[in-house]
Symmetry: C2
Subunit: 344 residues, 2 copies
DNA sequence: GTGAAAGCGCTAACAG
DNA sequence: CTGTTAGCGCTTTCAC
């Protein structure tokens, strides 16, 4: 229950705790090499473990970064966190993760919790493009930098990094068409998430390119959860319209749709291709002829942490920056070339 | 940059910081109701946010629980963390997540980091059943309780909670057989993870039950990563033996195997069923006729946190406990009944 | 009921 | 090079 402190070490060696502190900090300028060595050895021998809490209190910072994500089901955020953690730890930062569950109230609670832990900065994927923007501003005005990633945030002075959703969406839908699909249902994301509009935009763009008719009935509100996705799928099926593919905004929603199709005895994947984008990942949930998911998630994580660390290092000369990762990054890893198909 | 402190509030109101502290703590015994109200209102007005760091230093505890997981790709651990976080937050605990990346050295670093953050307790899924057991003992001797989950730990005085791996494995393999598979490759988990042996055991048990021959050539070391899984698959394919299903120890390894099969133009899923267990989840990665994954992960998370919280509350009367969640929990959610099949 | 004072473990400014 | 001192923000005796 009892930890060894620098005072214990000082007493043991008959020197002052300042010297111990300096030695342990590796301050070669101000500590005789032999003292240094002696202190470090004694510390090890006695099993000393620095009390981060005390250091943080004294230093008035926490060397901790908060990461807020909207859900923890999809592997995208997990990957993101892992990459970000690696980058941050390399700079001596710890991380604390908070999940908002796609709920703006919980999102506020997350932020408050992080402030109470006195995090030095925040990486955040919002669950609403504007709902909490006032609170974001408050947090930032207190000197805590925020970098938003993946989902767009309207009207903010913070840095952001997200994907070129239009291009990515174009790529995915084109892939469906080239593999023979013609009647593609789009499970539209909620309007309060900016990316949804862009992905719909990409969807329409491709239809146009291939001279396929755009029928609004094929675009249904798919929500964010598996339940909403399932309901959306059921709603669409009731229209009786023919379809051979589903392109969803969220992986979770598409998973919901999938369960409905299975329950209704659609012979997936022979009949229906299911795919979606999840963060920077293109997910083909079922159809085997579509190549596997591409995840340049690292790029997003690196960029986001870099922006945050830069801001942390030079808070004075900060200028908000919006980095749009090219949608083509996804193409880069595509193993098989797209089958040629005449643009009708 | 500047946070409001209790001293600021005290000054504002012309009272002592002790009273402010008591009022904010809701100590109705020692604070006049009106003072109480006044303080709380002023605090809110001034935007006061309690400095957790200071509280923790003073209280000599952190109200923080560390969670150590071996990887962050699979959704199992994400789900686990989310459930655990919910339970812990309800008791006023924060969580800090550390990933060992299936590496015993990194695992030690994780533990050390958590100790330096003075976590009050640890939930842990080990990456080796015994390698770091000495360190575990050290941590525990310092008064930090550990509860191990999912993966077995040999020779420990800590509480554990894991699945009945034999039964779960039996269920999964039986499912494969009942859906027509006969030649099932088993991507065996590494020997240093106790669960691997149990799952192999289940595999063999089912073969016996259905009077299918057990051929050791169908059992290949599948490792833990996608890369290892891929190599294992390639190795097996080179034997030229016929197979129609793959049952893997880890989801990651099976994902690796899947990529190989796709590259080699196996027509998944028509030809080969792929499945695995991941934590408490049964995953059918491709084959649609097998019902979707069942995730009684919550049960494991609840149990683990309960054990930890109990130990935290009554450290004196602690007795190590091993909870084995029944493998049948997985059957519970199975939607379709298993097709009947004569035991040959 | 309230205030004054001590101190959690550590760092950093200032003397020597 | 080393020691002394003064806090970081908060809780918690102990007086009054």
């Amino acid at each position: 229950m009892k930890y060894v402190t620098i005072i214990d070490i000082a007493r043991e060696l008959g020197i002052s705790k300042s010297t111990v502190s300096r030695a342990l900090a590796g301050d070669a300028q101000n500590v005789k090499p032999e003292t240094m060595k002696l202190v470090c050895e004694t510390a090890r021998r006695m099993g000393y473990q620095r009390n981060e809490t005390a250091v943080n209190l004294r230093r008035q910072l926490s060397k901790t970064i908060g990461i807020v994500i909207p859900e923890a089901i999809t592997s995208f955020f997990m990957n993101f966190i892992q990459c970000a953690q690696r980058d941050l730890r390399a700079q001596g930062y710890r991380t604390i993760i908070a999940v908002s569950n796609e709920d703006i109230v919980q999102e506020r609670e997350c932020l408050q919790m992080l402030e109470q832990c006195r995090v030095d900065g925040i990486l955040m994927c919002v669950c609403h493009s504007e709902a909490n923007s006032k609170m974001f501003r408050n947090v930032m005005s207190r000197g805590i930098p925020i970098v938003f990633f993946d989902r767009h945030v309207r009207d903010t002075a913070a840095s952001q990094v997200h994907l070129d959703d239009v291009t990515a969406s174009v790529f995915m839908v084109e892939k469906l068409i080239r593999s023979g699909c013609r009647y593609i249902v789009h499970l539209l994301g909620p309007a309060h998430i900016g990316n949804a509009a862009d992905r719909l935009h990409g969807y329409r763009e491709v239809l146009e390119k291939f001279n396929l008719p755009y029928n609004p009935q094929y675009v249904v509100e798919g929500g964010l959860s598996a339940e909403e996705g399932a309901r959306a799928m059921e709603r669409f099926i009731q229209t009786g319209l023919h379809f051979d593919a589903v392109f969803g905004f969220t992986e979770t929603a598409v998973l919901g749709a999938k369960s409905v199709l299975q329950r209704m005895h659609f012979r997936i994947p022979e009949d229906v291709s299911l795919c979606c984008m999840s963060g920077t990942a293109l997910c083909t949930l079922v159809h085997p002829t579509l190549s596997a998911a591409h995840q340049p998630t690292e790029e997003m994580a690196h960029t986001a942490t870099r922006l945050l660390l830069e801001q942390l290092a030079h808070p004075d000369q900060f200028k908000p920056q919006t980095v749009v990762l090219p949608g083509e990054v996804m193409l880069r890893e595509s193993t098989k070339p797209l089958p040629t198909l005449e643009t009708v």
